[in-house]
Amino acid sequence: MENVLSILFCLSLFYLSVTSRVKAYVTVLRVQGIILTILLVIPFLSHFSVYGIIIPATMLIVKVIYIPRYINKVILDLDIKRRIEPTIQQMVFLALVIATIVIIFFASQLLSKSTPLNVIPFASGFSAIAIGIYIIMFRKKLIVHVCGFLVLENGIFLFGTSVAFELPMLIELGTLLDVFVVVFLMGIALNRISSTFEGFEVAHLGRLKD
């Protein structure tokens, strides 16, 4: 079950690398949030505990409901153009993503020989981290950067569940809070910048340097 979900997660990454609509990014974020929530809920089907359900519940609220709605609201409010404006061709980007994912899967396979880990979730999480970074590197729009950062964050979550030991609850909650705050700040920053600059491209942010 875990493996199936992880592969689904991985497929969503491929979709991310070919789509050029901002709206699709938000949808994918939502899907990824749902996948992660299910992944977190699975262990509780066998032995249920009220205490442990806090994280999936928070996850559902923050990642599936609140953040996508907030991003959509920012897009609507600021009237951001719907295209993502890549800096390299989509096909090249896809090739890069595929190469990265292949390398990561091979590397994880190698690594699993020496360390106990679930190869597929581990590699998917790692890929999500890499692709999150790629999205930030090769896209111009600030709002897309936020999405890239969220993908990266999702990757870290998946990564955490795949490692044999469990992260303490406090740390996971902390990460969630971290994401929440970052998105919030980004929204505020975008609102501010919109009153100063025309576009929402990071190249303009250089001018804000002191």
Binding site: T87, L110, A130, I133, I136, M137, H145, V202, G206, K209
Partner: protein, 660 residues
């Protein structure tokens, strides 16, 4: 032992610390600046006197079951107690001087609330530092102490030199604490404990011994101001407000010495090379510290270099003790450590006296340049006398306390030569010459300071010279201490002896220090003093009988002398400073008229710090140049930054894979 044990006197100590902290609350609660300050300073003074009383009580009646104050992390062993008493003893006159110094600033409508807060924090953290028995607690106190000193130092933060000097200080303080972290982490690693009392790593059996020793020497050496690491002293001391610079030089430097003693406790018995290293560094500090001092014109900077010199003298004592420890000769340890500990006390007293004295002069004249002073003795006779007492004491001239500790160290040289034959007598002879040379230069330097500052006629018009009773009380206490220790050293030597016996030397106790016939010294000094007094009385009587003739200073039979005709500090010191010209970075500019028409003749001299200008500044210049090469990395675009992160991750992953 995990129970709370409180003897009466250690409870008193905790109460005194609490009272001192109370002054912070007092100053912020009272609205009126002047009243708030008076109340807070009085509370602080009361707390400090209580603290000193409790420290003395603890020393007189040691607690039966050890000397733990609170749990295991606050402890008073004789060594800590000794340093605690020094801190409190010096803090009392400084706090009294605060009445005068800060009132002056309140009159100028300057808020002193934050300064009092930081000063109190500094005092309390320094007292806690020497009672700490837990490494982390020690480090926390150390950090608070350094930072409080920094925050107090920026009292006059609108001045450019204050900003620069305090930044210099805070940088050095941070570099230092990193070394200390490493030092204590290694200690923890080796012993598995955080408690000072359980650190016993005999040097011989310990592979980390040399590392620990070098780290401690660097870290505590920076704080104490040993020569290659002294560079922050001449920058930080002149710009600090007077009470703080007095406390910095008198006490904060001594925490470095305290650290060295503690390191010795952890590592003893140390091998002989440690002793030689400390001796060499110390002799170097002593000689060049005083030589640098001779070349200065800024009175506070001059005193800062004298701190380097005196720390060097203390270090020589410590080095002797190390050599004694290596050869298992308690006699040498007693003499060496005894001289060092006593000189620590003495230096704290007379350096505080000199700093407060120079602070009073600075406050009135508005300049620290001694070339612009002169004739102060006619304005404030007692200030001149107190300053003279401090100068005599710091030069190690007989009747006062500086002589006693230097005398013990000199005795140590001869004792070492006597006990360890071989090549030792020659080396010790060289050290004797070195230390005597230091004393001579110090005397020359303070001749210059006293003559130029206090005697003669003013080189610049003195508008007003205000001193008040608090100045005289604080100066008086310190001068009296100088005289008492000089004339009656026996109880102080006894105290030092017991500290060494119980904390630094294990095994057979030696009464060498106590048996040095101190009463003879007292008798001789008293006789000399009586003789001087008799001559003075004779002089007064003769003046009454034959009258007194008054003429200009440096008159020399000239008709119309001007203040410009006086001997200046630069020309006084020039001959001596020309000898180590390159080390002192001593420049002089002479403009002489060799034409028929008289051109204005000038003589200027200036000395920079070698380490500062020839080592550190080029080093940081190089660093800046190197960093400028990587400026292209400072992209403003976030995409490049992320790309760099990715590259880093890839490199690390590759390394990890190859390594596995």
């Amino acid at each position: 032992m995990n129970s709370i044990f409180l003897s009466g006197s250690s409870l008193l100590l905790l109460i005194s610390l609490a009272v001192q902290l109370l002054s912070v609350a007092v100053i912020w609660l009272i609205k009126n600046e002047r009243k708030a300050f008076l109340a807070a300073n009085t509370v602080l003074l009361g707390g400090m006197i209580t603290g000193l009383a409790s420290a003395l009580l603890t020393a007189l009646y040691p607690a039966p079951s050890g000397n733990i104050i609170l749990y295991e992390w606050l402890r008073l062993d004789p060594l800590g107690l000794y340093f605690l008493s020094i801190i409190q003893l010096v803090a009392i006159p400084t706090i009294i001087y605060n009445y005068s110094y800060l009132r002056h600033h309140i009159d100028k409508k300057k808020s002193v609330k934050s300064f009092v807060t930081f000063f109190t924090t500094l005092l309390v953290s320094t007292q806690l530092l020497v009672t700490a028995n837990h490494a982390i607690f020690f480090l926390v106190c150390w950090e608070i102490m350094s930072m409080a000193a920094y925050l107090g130092m920026i009292f006059e933060k609108e001045k450019k030199e204050v900003q620069q000097g305090s930044f210099y200080y805070v940088t050095v303080a941070h570099a230092l604490i990193f070394i200390l972290y490493i030092f204590f982490f290694i200690l923890h690693e080796q012993t598995g404990s955080w408690l000072f009392s359980s650190y016993h790593l005999p040097f011989a059996t310990e592979t980390m011994g040399p590392v620990l020793f070098i780290l401690a020497l660097i870290a505590f050496g920076i704080k104490a101001g040993f020569m290659p690491f002294h560079f922050w002293l001449p920058r930080a001391h002149p710009i600090a407000p007077t009470p703080l610079s007095a406390f910095l030089s008198g006490v904060i430097l001594k925490t470095g010495i305290y650290g060295l003693f503690r390191t010795f406790q952890f590592l003893c018995p140390v091998p002989e090379w440690c002793g030689w290293v400390v001796l060499a560094v110390s002799l170097f500090s002593a000689i060049f510290g005083v030589w640098y001092a001779l070349a200065q014109h800024d009175i506070k900077r001059l005193l800062a270099y004298h701190s380097v010199e005196n720390i060097g003298i203390i270090g020589i004592g410590i080095g002797l003790g190390f050599i004694g420890s290596a050869n298992n000769l308690p006699v040498i340890m007693y003499i060496g450590f005894g001289g060092a500990l006593l000189h620590t006390l003495n230096h704290a007293i007379f350096k505080t006296l000199l700093f407060i004295g120079s602070g009073i002069v600075y406050q009135n004249l508005g300049t620290r340049n001694i070339e612009l002073m002169g004739g102060i003795v006619h304005r404030s006779r007692y200030l001149a006398i107190a300053f003279l007492i401090g100068s005599v004491a710091i030069s190690g001239v007989p009747p006062l306390n500086g002589f006693i500790s230097e005398f013990i160290i000199f005795t140590g040289f001869f004792a070492t030569a006597n006990e360890l034959k071989n090549f030792y007598p020659i080396v010790m002879l060289m050290l004797v010459v070195g230390l005597a040379f230091v004393g001579g230069l110090a005397a020359a330097c303070f001749t210059k300071v006293n003559a130029v500052m206090f005697l003669g006629s003013p080189r610049r018009e003195i508008q007003k010279f205000n001193t008040n009773v608090f100045d005289y009380i604080s100066l008086g206490i310190l001068a009296l201490l100088c005289i008492v220790i000089g004339f009656y050293p026996a109880p102080f030597v006894g105290m030092v002896n017991s500290v060494i016996g119980s904390s630094l030397v294990n095994g057979t106790a030696s009464a060498i220090l106590v048996d040095m016939n101190w009463m003879y010294i007292s008798a001789i000094f008293t006789t000399i003093a009586l003789a001087v007094f008799a001559l003075y009385v004779l002089k007064i009587r003769h003046e009454k009988k034959y009258g007194k003739r008054v003429s200009d200073a440096w008159g020399c039979g000239y008709e119309h002398i001007t203040p410009r005709m006086q001997y200046t500090a630069s020309s006084f010191a020039d001959e001596l400073n020309t000898i180590p010209q390159s080390v002192l970075v001593y420049h002089k500019k002479v403009t002489v008229s060799d034409t028929a028409y008289p051109v204005e003749s000038k003589f200027e001299s200036h000395s920079d710090d070698f380490v500062d200008t020839k080592v550190l500044l080029p080093l940081f210049g190089l660093l800046k140049w190197l960093i400028a090469k990587f400026e292209f990395l400072g992209q403003t675009d976030i995409r490049y930054s992320v790309a760099f992160i990715l590259i880093t991750i890839i490199v690390y992953s590759l390394i990890a894979f190859l390594w596995v």
